[in-house]
Subunit: 270 residues, 2 copies
């Protein structure tokens, strides 16, 4: 039987109020969600790696599109976010748009998300940094050079990658909230002193980060292998270089998540 | 290093004209594309299985949305196709819209797809059947009962599944073209006699179909496992029931692909 979504558990714990060990349960759910999101990120990168770099998606202004002065990727992300805003995506505290200006309001009954986070969370959005990291640093690492003309499919695949990365990195808000609730006595002084370095130190566990890097590398190996019948797969011929996923987490995903956590904690007692 | 996309090879072979063994190369590329599309389908089903069934996405008319009289899924698929049509998705002979009426024209320079298929291919679209299969038969099999209110995310995930299945099933047009070019003497008489049964018999290789079913089941096991460090994963606790993927291929994907092939071949000599 398929396993249900862990984020469901998370919202159920949050919604149904607090038994004595509520924070322990929420912590476990946050952890499970982060692990599950690794799979989504790896799947999406594997799908993007089907296409070569296709640099015109990012470089050239799509002057042919009326009213669009950015790249084709910018056009597709904006239009996708506009559609998803109509169906309530950005009502969720887990989602952060890349182009928050002028998003249409939801046209469906909003889902009643419980208030878990401090209201300051809504003002934290580092998607500009994520966009630049993805387009300028990550894409050239994991796609082959070249241009096959499939710009629309390429950009649609980029939307999936960007949204998965954004969701994972901004999940730092929940991580920070849970950590704060777990040990307010540890975080309180650094927050009151607005001491970024002290907060970053409290949030950093190098051995955990090393473990995450090894796990996502393994996931890229498992999910990116050629699966054949009769043997254990064509090891070594991966659809996505596993070491790049490890590097993505080590250099960008985890540091940016900690940046989100620090920004959140700095405002946690406002 | 990541492996490049096989469909690139396909288009390169097709575009660059015909060495003596051109059809052999195209046949191999079609086969590789079909195998690669299995991964995409399994990834997308695993992602959809994160959410429970969420039946209001399919059942209720989204009366709140101005101008929309179908379900939320219908609204999202229509809007997604409209956006993707603008960036040229449906110029590709590999793509077939679910709602072909009133799609906007592309606003970007169209990619010059080589003409591989007989022009009759454009009139073959069995997406209504695929939609009904997916919503009425497949979804209740691989999602858990329930409603978590995440309708927008659920429907976005459905779009990915529907498009991956549609692409795979309509790829039957290419399969049929390659088979026809490979043995026109075998197919010609049945086509001229407009004999569906004879064509279906020519296209059916039970041992190959059994192998495909076993392979996609294995892919669901590999891609749907919980990947942990230090062991070979938590076998038996799959995010997607592998036997359902085998059934999906045996009962729907392969029979529907053959329906597409037969429809195509019946018009191949028009």
């Amino acid at each position: 039987m398929a396993t249900p979504a862990c984020s469901e558990d998370f919202w159920r714990f949050v919604k149904n109020g607090a038994p004595d060990n509520a924070n322990g349960l929420i912590l476990e759910s946050v952890r499970e969600s982060l692990i599950r999101q690794e799979d989504t990120i790896v799947f999406n990168l594997i799908e993007r790696a089907k296409f070569p770099l296709n640099s015109p998606v990012y470089d050239e202004p799509c002057a042919q599109i009326p009213g669009c002065c950015g790249s084709l990727l910018e056009f597709i992300v904006k239009e996708t976010e506009s559609l998803q805003a109509k169906v309530g995506r950005y009502e969720s505290p887990e989602e952060n748009p890349f182009f928050p200006d002028a998003l249409p309001p939801p046209v469906v009954t909003p889902y009643n998300y419980p208030q878990v986070l401090h209201p300051a969370a809504a003002s934290i959005n580092i998607n500009k940094t994520i966009w630049n990291m993805y387009v300028k640093e990550l894409l050239p690492l994991f796609t082959v050079q070249g241009d096959d003309g499939n710009y629309g499919s390429t950009a649609s695949s980029d939307v999936q990658c960007l949204q998965a990365l954004s969701r994972r990195i901004h999940y730092g808000k929940f991580v920070a909230e849970v950590k704060f609730r777990d040990a307010p006595q540890d975080y309180g002084p650094a927050i009151r002193a607005q001491d970024r370095d002290a907060l970053m130190k409290l949030l950093t566990f190098e051995s955990v980060e090393e473990m995450v890097k090894r796990r996502v590398e393994k996931k890229a190996m498992v999910f990116g292998q050629e699966v054949n019948l009769g043997d254990r797969g064509d090891k070594g011929n991966y659809k996505l270089d596993p070491s790049i996923v490890s590097r993505l987490y080590g250099e960008w995903v985890m540091p940016l998540t900690k940046d989100v956590q620090v920004e959140y904690l700095l405002r946690r007692l406002d």
